[in-house]
């Protein structure tokens, strides 16, 4: 949510173009995945563990959603198109973030930041809604952990559980079934991790709206909130 800088104040910070491009491409793909994923779920709004599950088997959870069998056609088309965009865009972001040092310098928390006492202090401040941005405009430790968690844990988990529902992919990589404990388990984890992604996005968007939304949106769209030179 905060603009990355090389230690300058906010007004002189700038997001590099590749961050902005992959951010909004990923945002559009994620929105399409959420809408189409919900539509696919309506065909069987129940979750199961193990290999098998259907209307004739006991469900772990029955979601409070209407049953609609007619939405999977367009929804599957959109889901897989958006998934390709999400994955290729995410891979490009990850590669650039690694190559350009963005991951190490901007996202990796410093050892001092993740000491229990420092983290507890940040969590306390956030809970009291006193989470002023660090004066330098760097990401705070909770942001770094959230972004790295989405990038390195949540998104790969969503991708892999999605692939575990593919009969073609699992014929080549049956280990995926072992990893997640079966096709229905993978479907359940796919839903739970997508739900966690929605929760992350809700907080992410709320934080933007609660902290200078115009400046932050300008920063992620135009790159500049002031007239600073580009950072890596």
């Amino acid at each position: 949510m905060m603009i990355e800088t090389t230690g300058r104040p906010f007004s002189r910070a700038r997001h590099p173009a590749w961050v902005r491009l992959t951010h909004w491409t990923g945002a559009a793909a994620t929105l399409a995945l959420m809408v189409s994923g919900t539509a696919i779920l309506l065909a069987l709004p129940k979750l199961f563990w193990g290999e098998t599950g259907s209307n004739s088997a006991p469900a772990w959870i029955t979601l409070p959603l209407p049953v609609d069998l007619e939405q999977t056609g367009w929804a599957r088309n959109l889901h897989f198109l958006a998934a390709w965009i999400f994955v290729l865009n995410g891979a490009a972001y990850l590669a650039l973030a690694l190559l350009r040092g963005h991951l190490r310098r901007r996202l990796l928390p410093a050892p001092a930041e993740i000491k229990p006492r420092a983290l507890a202090g940040e969590i306390r401040d956030h809970l009291r809604l006193r989470c002023a941005a660090p004066p330098t405009g760097r990401y705070n430790a909770l942001q770094k952990i959230a972004y790295l968690g989405v990038l390195l844990v949540l998104a790969p988990l969503i991708l892999l559980t999605g692939l575990t529902m593919s009969p073609g992919v699992t014929a080549a990589w049956p280990e995926l079934f072992t990893l997640f404990g079966g096709r229905q388990s993978a479907r359940t984890i796919h839903f739970l991790s997508a739900f966690a992604m929605v929760a992350f996005l809700a907080i992410h968007i709320w934080q933007v709206l609660a902290n200078r939304p115009v400046t932050l949106m300008r920063g992620m769209i135009l790159g500049r909130a002031g007239n600073a030179e580009e950072t890596r």
Binding site: L44, E51, N55, A57, G73, R76, N77, S166, P167, G168
Partner: protein, 246 residues
């Protein structure tokens, strides 16, 4: 989308894999949709063909894994008069025509199919609706039937039609796979009517909608881009992907 556009797609992604692996460059392949979904369908197809290049089998289970209840969808008892008569006669008069690019076109009776080399497999059926169930299927590999009819080298696709009006097509990569069988038995008994008696198809590396029930004919062809809407299957006309490995 024309074959030319598809060829450009293939060329545009040269280096993605050996072009021979990628059916998209086949001039008789189902037409891609003229929208971005054509591209994602093609990426999925080409990507999975690379993954499956060594023709692995889909997972098979032990008998203890067989689902107590195996759901049925779509047609569960065709109301076609000829089918009803045949069902009443225990399918003794049922015949499966095998035509097209074969040296010996003809029709197989149920007894003839059962006399051919059989395969039994316990596999996971994955429906596009989200459910999955495990069943045991016994039948003759489609490759055996095509060989018995003398499929000609110019054949590239197999078109399969059903009593209830469905049709779909399969390239030889899937049609000749050892787990692609014409199943006449389920869970140790005759295939029930609700599951497609007397003979249904099993295509284990794709979603359930490729495993057609109530088979009525098999045709070997060199191209499928001119059949129906040109997209390779009946459900492709309804907006579903021809290739259903995902």
């Amino acid at each position: 989308m024309s074959a030319l556009t598809r060829r450009r797609l293939v060329l545009g992604t040269a280096g993605f894999g050996a072009a021979g692996l990628v059916g998209g460059c086949d001039p008789g392949a189902p037409q891609l949709r003229p929208n971005p979904y054509g591209l994602s369908d093609w990426l999925t197809f080409a990507g999975q063909r690379l993954l499956l290049a060594r023709q692995p089998l889909a997972r098979e289970f032990g008998p203890e894994a067989i689902s107590a209840v195996f759901p049925t969808i779509n047609t569960t008892d065709p109301d076609d008069p000829a089918y009803r008569r045949s069902k009443a006669a225990g399918f003794s008069d049922w015949r499966l025509p095998v035509t097209g690019l074969v040296a010996r076109p003809g029709a197989f009776s149920l007894a003839e199919l059962k006399a051919m080399p059989a395969r039994t497999q316990i596999t996971l059926h994955s429906c596009e609706q989200g459910w999955s169930a495990i069943g045991q299927w016994t039948g003759v590999p489609l490759a055996q039937v095509l060989a018995a009819a003398g499929m000609r080298p110019e054949a590239r696709y197999v078109v399969i039609r059903t009593v209830d009006g469905w049709w779909d097509s399969y390239d030889l990569f899937d049609a000749l796979h050892p787990q692609t069988i014409l199943a006449y038995g389920m869970n140790g008994a005759d295939l029930p009517v609700a599951h497609g008696a007397p003979v249904r198809l099993r295509v284990e590396r794709q979603l359930g909608y490729k495993s057609l029930k109530y088979l009525s004919s098999i045709e070997a062809v060199d191209r499928v881009d001119g059949i129906g809407h040109g997209r390779g299957s009946m459900v492709a006309g309804l907006g579903f992907s021809w290739y259903a490995g995902i």
